[in-house]
Amino acid sequence: MSDLVLQGLTKRFGEFTAVDALDLTVPAGSFFALLGPSGCGKTTTLRMAAGLEEPTAGRILLGDRDITGLRPHQRPVNTVFQSYALFPHLDVAGNVAFGLRRRGVRDHAAEVARMLELVQLDGLGRRRPAQLSGGQQQRVALARALVNRPQVLLLDEPLGALDLTLTRRMQVELKRIQTEVGITFVHVTHDQEEAMTMADTVAVMNAGRIEQLGRPAELYEFPQTPFVANFLGQSNLLAAEVVERGAGYVAVRAYDNRYSVPAGRCRAAGPAAYLGVRPEKVHLAEAAAQVPAGHDSVAGVVTDWSYVGVGNRYLVRAPWGTELAVFSPNTGEGYYPPLGGEVVVHWDPAHAFLLDREPGAGDATTPVAPEPTGVPA
């Protein structure tokens, strides 16, 4: 087993740079998630790793072996395509056996049967792809790649067409298979929850570049850039100026209020910074008197409210006009203010973080459009 290493990998389509000097090491046997918005270059990156797209620049290595120049069929890498790409003229079993046949594996029938059982398609081996549902086709695509036990399995949104229950089950299955077989999985998705639940390492990609890479909790708790803060979950990002770098803390001023953040949670190099705090780390109080000691706070008015079962989502307009997102878990305890109510928003400074901000840029709170729910009871 060897690491998959991308060095300065670049792909240009004419003038447009789809993948921009990507440097990436996927450790052998790890579950690696590539997360990013539509069109950020995820598929293009996978296609270069599979050999289906020629890089404009850069190298691809498997351990010490440079595979940049190898043809797709020479690479110990298999792909689960975003569009499945099942062979319509072959039945399900024929599709799954395709790679085994090419490699001259004898007795592939047993392997195929076992794999079909694994993806819960036993008994459908004689069907044609056209006679399967979208989710079933997706599982055939998965089985067809997985049955070869490649060194690296590239999965391009393999669970996109499945319903929630099946998605959960396949997530568990995939994770189990990956740990059991020890194959390196590079899993492309734009579902952040999927990426966080399944992967050892998550890389957040934006416009052809990796914005941040790390364990899911690292990325979520202390994002590197405003993009990551908003793409992986939501964030309140207030435009602030660093006013003091003290012992163990950094103080900022935002809209004439003074806030502080532990020094270890400051990524802002210059004076212009974003003060970030996750909506679920923000609490609501009826009055300033109820704010716990040591918490930072701001008073505001509830402008929007929506009930989402596990909790309530609020938008609270601050005195300076921008809105803060607040998520109150539905614990049955706590303060659930009415629409239009005056509240005090507060948080533990230890949960806040500071990111670099372009001078002059305003708040960058995740835009949220909660369903209008009328007046709360």
Binding site: A50, G51, L52, R71, P72, H73, V77, N78, T79, F81, S83, A85, L86, F87, P88, H89, F98, G99, R102, R103, R128, R144, A145, N148
Partner: protein, 253 residues
């Protein structure tokens, strides 16, 4: 609903009436050479289809020409279709248009200009000149049909094959060719029926040789022997059989 059924029935009757006449006349014993009335039922025509001098020879010749022209046109046309859809090269656009030209040219013009060409080149007219002429116009049809099939093919399928360890040759054999096959077969069938059926171009370039359509046309002056209808009916039966078999095979999947 009923109206559309009536219309469909009328259209079908319109299409099949000539066929019915052919089938009927194949069992006819005409009272004289120039009679096209149904005089008397007989099986004699079916018992002796090769009765009229030259009939069976002409059918055989047309079949030979048809098969040869089909094989050549299908191979050439398929290669051309692959070249035109898979590769970008200088002159691809004009070539795409030029391929259509033989389809758009009136057959009389095609036939007479070929004759001029052969005569100028002192090529003896006969079997091979007809084959060459047929290949020429059949290629266009094959190219068009196969190209349509290739254009509708998902390029991801070949990538998936390559990803699953299939070399380019294997990919072609196990994925590309099977997927293109319906188009190639359709092109070949079209080529054969065009060639077998052709009268105008053949008439110009056959010299003293006679193909089946030329035989029928020639004998029409003197009264068509009823055996011609036997051949026609048999050909129709073969076509129907082919359609039935393909329909059932498709349904069996």
């Amino acid at each position: 609903m009923r109206g559309s059924r009536v219309v469909a029935g009328l259209v079908l009757a319109y299409l099949l009436l000539p066929v019915a006449v052919v089938v009927g006349l194949s069992f006819n014993a005409p009272s004289n050479r120039l009679s096209y009335d149904f005089d008397r039922f007989t099986l004699a025509n079916w018992a002796d289809p090769c009765g009229p001098a030259g009939l069976c020879a002409s059918v055989l010749r047309s079949a030979q020409i048809g098969l040869l022209a089909t094989v050549l046109a299908t191979v050439l046309g398929t290669l051309l279709a692959f070249g035109l859809t898979r590769h970008r090269f200088r002159g691809r656009g004009p070539l795409n248009a030029l391929v259509f030209l033989p389809m758009a040219t009136p057959e009389v013009v095609l036939g007479s200009s070929l004759l001029a060409l052969f005569t100028a080149g002192a090529v003896p007219l006969g079997f091979w000149t007809v084959v060459i002429a047929h290949v020429m116009f059949c290629v266009s049809f094959v190219v068009v049909v196969v190209k349509a099939r290739l254009a509708g093919m998902d390029p991801r399928l070949e990538e998936a094959a390559a990803d699953l360890y299939a070399s380019p040759w294997h990919t072609f054999r196990t994925v590309t060719l099977p997927l293109a096959m319906p188009g190639i077969v359709a092109g070949a069938l079209l080529a054969f029926s065009l060639s077998f059926d052709d009268f105008i171009v053949s008439n110009f370039n056959a010299g003293t040789m006679t193909t089946f359509p030329m035989f029928v046309w020639g004998s029409a002056q003197r009264g068509i022997p009823p055996q011609v209808n036997v051949v026609g009916t048999a050909m129709f039966a073969v076509a129907v059989l082919a359609v039935v078999i393909t329909t059932f095979r498709r349904r069996a999947r």
